[in-house]
Amino acid sequence: MTMANTIAGWFGAGKDGQHAKLQLILLSVFMLALPFILSGSFASGNSWVRTIDFALLYIMLALGLNIVVGYAGLLDLGYIAFYAVGAYLYAFLNSPQIAAFLPVWMMNPPLLVMLLIAAVVAGCFGVMLGAPTLKLRGDYLAIVTLGFGEIIRIFMNNLDRPVNITNGPQGINNIERVSLLGHEFGKPLEFFGVQIPMVHQYYYLILAFCVLIIFVSIRLQRSRIGRAWVAIREDEIAAAAMGINTRNVKLLAFAMGASFGGVSGSLFASFQGFISPESFILMESVLVLCMVVLGGMGHIPGVILGAIIVSITPEALREVVNPLQDALLGKRVVDPENLRMLMFGLAMIIIMLLRPEGLWPSRRRKDELHPATKRITKQEDATLTEAEREHE
């Protein structure tokens, strides 16, 4: 039960296996019931389930970027490009957009095959980006990845001429939903007499892959490769001296992170049914980075928390800010979207200045950044003064 122990450990549980199992079961039950709790208790429940679906997609993205930024310490500012690659791949193979150019057998591949393709192709893009840039210093890498993200977006925007591949800024419409075991996800499903709407179906699908990605992340972290990533983050020269092939291991981080993005992008395209370059702008890369930074770089539950906070805030803001402005000022002065980016920009600065380990850091990282010696000295001080007092 190492996995259960790991997950229970996040919530502060001890090594007690039984306890860990119970927590995990409770969490699973809650996650499984969540869409019905939401749609049951709110009038606009289905739109909240939709938000949660997106939050799950963002968790996958954030966990992918966490490998690159959190584990390997490489700042990637063009991460959303891999999400775009996954989304466009799905759209190409599952919509009439370029069906004319493709042989029939390539269209509508089974879900798992599709996601595998997305992961592999996005991973290849990751290697393509990483190979020339990884020998550069961190800040160069940040700017090159940022440029790469923009290049991908410019191509998506302009590849409607001379041959219409991406349909330019209009984006691709009529993307078919996922079908699994003969069931098409766009259609309503009845299960023991209960109607399960589309957003709920996608919730379970995305949740399944999200759990898979969390599982892979945990396993990776504890693996030889995961430890190599952290070693490189902490001191590249020392890592190389320990026999780590830093170039290949960094490339692997890029490829791995990119493949998570690719899978997430494919699911996004299928869920949304429509994609356009608008969804893959630089701000999205910054948002995903913000999730990782906010939650705690390199700590899986922290990153998940960050992703949830960042992806749910706009919905919450929209529900609060606009009515508030209407009531107080009688007109809308501030766009909630604007306010959201402002908040996250500020959050990144404040976190880096005051709490660089993030909101929910791993114990180890916390100790690194706030050395235990300080606390011990305080304790020792306390005991010393106590002893002195007793002596008097």
């Binding site: 550069l136 980016m341 920009g345 990144m348 600065i349 200045l353």
Partner: protein, 309 residues
């Protein structure tokens, strides 16, 4: 290859703007080995403040010649940008000078987002037209057209650069800056107040950025809250192309990038038989950046190597 001279002139104009912005990047990099991600935003704010000032003066029916209005606008924008540059250093860089490298990068990105969003709140999302206060005259040289504004941009850029070189190479302040760039600890031992020098570097770079922002806005007749990102990225490319940390390199890099971009945008469609159109012109900067980093990371004139120390 018609219009060659025209493309060269356009490239030279935008190139001298890139050069001014690139100087800001390269000065900061030379001293702190850090990329100031928020520099593009300073350029944008310089342009926006100038436009607002001119519009306010026009709205108050101040009857002054256009060139004087522009000078007043610029005189307002430069201090604002300088203050911002100072603030950015104090907030994003100074507290994190001994932190892991990732930390100041992230705060700088955060600041850049904050400035961008604040600008959107103040000036809105739309393009702001540059007030038509200048009396634009066109001259013809060998079939190409150049405006008096473009000539003014090039001349002003050259003057500013000359002043900067004089400051860095001849003045006491410049010597302190060079010393700080070479070795910050030794400079401090020699009695240089390195904190002040670093602040001043940011402030001077920001002033250049503000002027460059106004030049871009005047040249293209518009400015908007999101312009900082792209122009910042291009100027950074120019700095890397010339050799980051090297002042002359930033100027050469800016001019080369401006001309490459202008020629590229002009001839790309012909060269590729219409497959790639001028809408790909923004890709040039990134392509140049990646190629330089691959094959000559020290840049055209650079001594510093872009390897991890």
């Amino acid at each position: 290859m018609d219009h060659l001279l025209q493309h060269l002139i356009n490239g030279l104009v935008i190139g001298s703007v890139y050069a001014l912005i690139a100087l800001g990047y390269t000065m900061v990099y030379g001293i702190m080995q850090l990329i100031n991600f928020a520099h593009g935003e300073i350029v944008m704010i310089g342009a926006m403040v100038t436009i607002t000032c001119i519009n306010l003066l026009l709205g108050a029916n101040v009857a002054l010649p256009g060139i004087l209005l522009l000078t007043i606008g610029l005189a307002m924008a430069i201090p604002v940008s300088m203050a911002l540059g100072y603030g950015i250093e104090r907030v994003a860089y100074r507290p994190l000078r001994n932190a892991p490298r990732l930390a100041p990068l992230i705060t700088a990105i955060g600041l850049s987002i904050v400035l961008q969003q604040l600008a959107t709140l103040i000036w809105g999302r739309n393009y702001r037209p540059f007030p038509a206060i200048l009396d634009i005259k066109t001259f013809e040289i060998g079939g190409a057209v150049i405006t008096n504004l473009q000539i003014a941009i090039i001349v002003l850029a050259i003057l500013i650069m000359a002043a900067l070189f004089f400051l860095i190479e001849r003045s006491k302040l410049g010597r302190a800056m060079r010393a700080t760039a070479q070795n910050i600890d030794v400079a401090r031992l020699m009695g240089v107040n390195t904190n002040t020098i670093i602040s001043l570097t940011f402030v001077i770079g920001s002033a250049l950025g503000a002027v460059a922002g106004v030049m871009v806005a005047a040249n293209y007749d518009q400015a908007h809250a999101y312009m900082g990102f792209l122009i910042g990225l291009k100027a950074f490319t120019a700095a890397v192309l010339g050799g980051i940390g090297n002042l002359a390199g930033a100027v050469v890099g800016g001019l080369v990038l401006g001309i490459v971009e202008s020629l590229g945008a002009g001839y790309l469609s012909d060269l590729t038989g219409g497959v790639l159109t001028s809408s790909y012109k923004d890709i040039f900067a990134f392509a140049v950046l990646i190629l330089v980093l691959l094959f000559r990371p020290s840049g055209l004139l650079g001594e510093r190597v872009a390897e991890r120390a």
